[in-house]
């Protein structure tokens, strides 16, 4: 029956000419579409993948108090953190603090500033986090800051890149 209906439909079209607009899926290369911000969950999933190499997880947090087991409860990283981020209209400040917490965490082993060569580390992080090479200006500024400001090191580079509009955009 279906086949019959299809044949009838095709037959009905034979005397009609249709024009179609060109397909416009996606953005043209170099297009100027203004970016949109990642949602909280998009940001967290990307951040966890980029910094920790894993997805946010749900796990049991165990707590010992003064030498004896106290309690344990289930913790869902994505639900908890996205809930907190959504508790602020523009969550950028709290996103920055989440990154500040993660880059200081036990789970990330960042090298000491003295252990890495600045330009190489900066290039690596641009590629890893932004998916591109730094342009000459960016590289110059970042390496200059690295050399002149003791506060600029691996943590700062990662925090700056993940805090950028480029990283925060979909």
């Amino acid at each position: 029956m279906k086949r019959l209906l299809l044949l009838l439909a095709l037959a009905a079209c034979t005397d009609t000419t249709y024009d179609y607009d060109p397909a416009t899926a996606g953005e043209a290369e170099g297009g100027t579409r203004a970016p949109r911000a990642k949602t909280s969950t998009q940001f967290l999933r990307g951040l966890y993948a980029d910094l920790l190499g894993r997805s946010p997880e749900s796990y049991e947090l165990t707590v010992s108090f003064q030498g004896s087991p106290a309690f344990a409860f289930q913790l869902d990283e994505e639900a908890q953190l996205s809930g907190a981020l959504d508790g602020i209209g523009d969550s950028a400040p709290l996103r920055n603090l989440v990154v500040a917490g993660l880059v200081s965490s036990e789970e990330i082993q960042l090298p000491e500033k003295s252990e890495v060569e600045a330009a190489a580390f900066i290039r690596d992080q641009f590629r890893r986090l932004l998916g591109r090479e730094p342009n000459a200006y960016e590289l110059a500024v970042f390496t200059d800051e690295w050399a002149s400001d003791p506060a600029v090191g691996p943590r700062t580079i990662i925090r700056a890149l993940t805090g950028s509009r480029e990283y925060q955009s979909q």
Binding site: R33, A34, P35, R36, A37, T39, L61, T62, V63, S64, F65, Q66, G67, A70, F71, F73, L75, E77, A79, Q80, L81, S82, G83, A84, D86, G87, I88, G89, D90, S91, A92, P93, L94, N96, L97, V98, A100, G101, L102, S104, S105, E106, I108, Y137, E138, V141, F142, E145, D149, P150, A151, V152, T156, R159, A160, G163, S164, R165, E166, S169
Partner: protein, 480 residues
Amino acid sequence: MTLSRRNLFRWGLAGAAAAATTRAFGPLIKAKAATNGQRVIIVGIGGGLRLNESLGMAEGATMPNLFGTTPLVTGFATGSQGAPNVAPEYAAAARPLALPTPRSTPLHLQGTLVTNLRYADGPPGHLQGHGCLLSGFYNRLENRADAHLPVPTIFELHRQATGAPATDAWYISQIGGFYRALIASDNLDYGPRYAGVYLQPPAAMQSLVPIITSGKRSLTIQTIDDLPIIPSNPAEDAATARLTSVLDGNSPTFATDDPIVHLATEDNARIQAHLAEIYSDSTYESYFPQSFGIGTLNEDGDIDPTPDAQTVYHAERVLKKFKPSVMAITLLDVDVCHSDFNGYLRGQQVADACVNHLWNFIQSDPDLRDTTTMIVLPEHGRHLFFNGNNPDSLGRSGIDHGLGDNGDRDVWMLALGPNIRGGQVIAPTGITQPGRTSGRYETIDAVMTAMGVLGHGDRLTDALEDKGARPGLVIDEVMA
């Protein structure tokens, strides 16, 4: 605070249930050039609060700090009232409330209480009710996350008129979700570029955030210093901000119709510094200190905050830090009334204590005391009938809202501050305006009065009339 097993994570867990200055950023900049130096706080007791129980004291004196113990409207109770009439089986099972001793002289005697305010139009729903409190516009907003008001909010009006930064206009809400969209309208002359700062303390201020970001899956706590924090490093923060600005200088700005509000870099830097103070506090007192004194008592005798208490505590922190010109606060504990009438009575006690705490806080700050007008009102009421949910031994049950009967629409307004006449309890009638059928002052008038204090009354009128809406009236009777 005594460190104990139970109190370690109570605030974090409360947040879980709800959800599922550094110099690095430069000095605090107060763009006050175009403001008139006045401040306004609108406290919306969200969730629906009836005249019967609040001013009428039909179930005892549920709001003694605001209204004392003698009914202020007739028809519900007479004579001096005692504690709220909580059903005995409920009182036996529920955690006791932690409430400071009520003030000896009720707050309403310091200001003007309008006992017959009318929420005259629009559905008595939470989003619509609060949309009205934030705009002076009776609305029929859809309950959607992307539903914005068509008229500017009080935050947008203030910022456009004065050029003030976003941190001069705050919306502190107990509840999230759709309420987040109330921070900015989709009005073309205003919109997100003039949005205020939206903050939902029960969600955003939770100690589980540093625990999660620490990467620890087991915590061994010996002393309070063992609690995870997010380290605060002003020098690193400053360097990070400089480098980020290099990147942002080379990338396009976010789309103007992006559903996420984007504040200015300077605003976000100040907000980040504020949050960093909280998340780097190893005592966890910054999430909610015992000294606030309002909440429920746990088995250890410590105070667990209710969402309203946590909201008002953080509103006070924002007031202290930013001294904003405009703040709106949404409370919502009383909304348990849908299925918990006794919880509704207790929620009123908490709201009452929180408003009193907030007013005392304002009076203790020399900058705020002489410049702050506070207007307190329910977003709407509740039905005149019980819904049968969770009946108690006193024959009472839950009460809904939304159908628009007189219980839903008869509310009140308490105004306090240096611009407000003191010692008045009034119920004006014969109020006329084209389109006004209530003959009374209305919820939209409370908003117009507040905007009038800030000098934005004409702007609000223009914005509403542009959309064909009836603007509120300034309630002259409350003004000093």
